[in-house]
């Protein structure tokens, strides 16, 4: 019974790991192929965090309920809080100092 339970848990954990590696690969490909800075920021924030969440979820499934999985949850929450701030700092710097010519028109601003 215990052996069966462990193997099912390992199977789900490996599914999570493979999903995480798909998201991380899409991050790398998106950073190379996207044409603009802001679209690269999209690839660098969302796909990266989705990959991170799925890798952490796989680790927690392998570990079970213990103090180590609580520590992993602490790291995950810390990444949740800090990564959008880092992306926002880069984006707001770029918006203020006009590094790349802005692409929006007057119609978009009035909405």
């Amino acid at each position: 019974m215990i052996d069966f339970n462990l193997s099912v848990r390992q199977l789900f954990a490996f599914v999570f790991f493979i999903a995480g590696i798909y998201f991380l690969l899409s991050t790398a490909v998106g950073l190379i192929r996207f044409p603009n800075l802001y679209t690269r920021l999209h690839a660098g924030s969302k796909c990266l965090m989705a990959g991170g969440i799925s890798v952490f979820m796989g680790c927690i499934l392998l570990e079970g309920i213990s103090f180590v999985s609580l520590k992993l949850i602490v790291i995950m929450v810390f990444l949740f809080i800090t990564n959008p701030i880092a992306i926002h700092v880069i984006a707001s710097f770029d918006n203020n100092y006009n590094l790349i010519p802005k692409t929006y028109t007057k119609e978009d601003l009035d909405k």
Binding site: I81, T82, I85, S92
Partner: protein
């Protein structure tokens, strides 16, 4: 004549490199075949007997704070010297920071993560003998609080919360306390900074209060490194 001179200097450099390489090769060969008797290596003794003699499960901590503690005293004094010299060399008391100012969103987030960093630094310092980490790493993490306040708000706000005199005082406590803890070994009749030999009650390996003087030495080094790095960063970032 000049062409011959150039060729001679080039040959001279190549010869220097070759002789140095040969010297290193001989030295490496000798070190590698130092002796077939494996008992002569000191690391064997540290690995096999270190946990029983010192009571710390982190072997790096047992080498740093017990066997080679006198070395660590010199390393820690280096930070004190660097902070003092920088405080003398940079006499500007009121200066502006260049660089882009952050929005208020960053300030609100920094407020949220400051207690987390404080608890993490305290854990790294006090659990230095039974987990990876120790005084140096914990001190760096504690000094990040002052660095974050300097970055997001300003130099003035950071020096309003942690006063420069208080930081100096904490660093002096760390420096003097380290030496006083080392003198305790002499009073019990053994060497300076000896921990495991002097029978300070090593306790059960793996508990919080074990390994004799090692948690206190960790605490002193953590206070010293955190205050010293905060002073160094604050005095280097002021510019005019």
């Amino acid at each position: 004549m000049s062409r011959l001179n150039e060729r001679f200097t080039k040959l001279y450099k190549i010869g220097l490199v070759i002789t140095f390489a040969y010297f290193l090769l001989v030295l490496f060969y000798d070190i590698h075949n130092l002796g077939t008797d494996r008992k002569r290596y000191l690391s064997e003794h540290y690995i096999s007997q270190g946990v029983q003699e010192t009571g710390a499960t982190n072997l790096v901590a047992s080498v740093l704070y017990d066997y080679r503690a006198f070395d660590t005293l010199g390393e820690a004094t280096m930070i004190l010297t660097a902070a003092t010299v920088l405080a003398f060399l940079v006499p500007i008391t009121k200066a502006t920071m260049f660089g882009t100012p952050f929005k208020s969103i960053v300030n609100q987030t920094v407020k949220l993560i400051i207690p987390y960093i404080a608890v993490l630094g305290a854990y790294l310092i006090l659990f230095g003998h039974i987990s990876p980490g120790g005084g140096f790493v914990g001190g760096v993490v504690l000094s990040i609080i002052a660095i974050l306040l300097t970055l997001t708000y300003s130099v003035e706000f950071s020096e309003y919360i942690f006063k420069p005199d208080q930081k100096k005082f904490i660093e002096d406590i760390g420096a003097i306390g380290f030496v006083l803890l080392g003198l305790l070994g002499i009073f019990t009749g053994s060497n300076f900074l000896s921990n495991g030999q002097a029978n300070f009650g090593t306790g059960n390996a793996g508990e919080v209060f074990s390994a004799g003087l090692m948690p206190f030495i960790n605490l002193m080094i953590g206070l010293k490194v955190s205050a010293g790095l905060a002073i160094i960063f604050n005095s280097l970032i002021k510019e005019k």
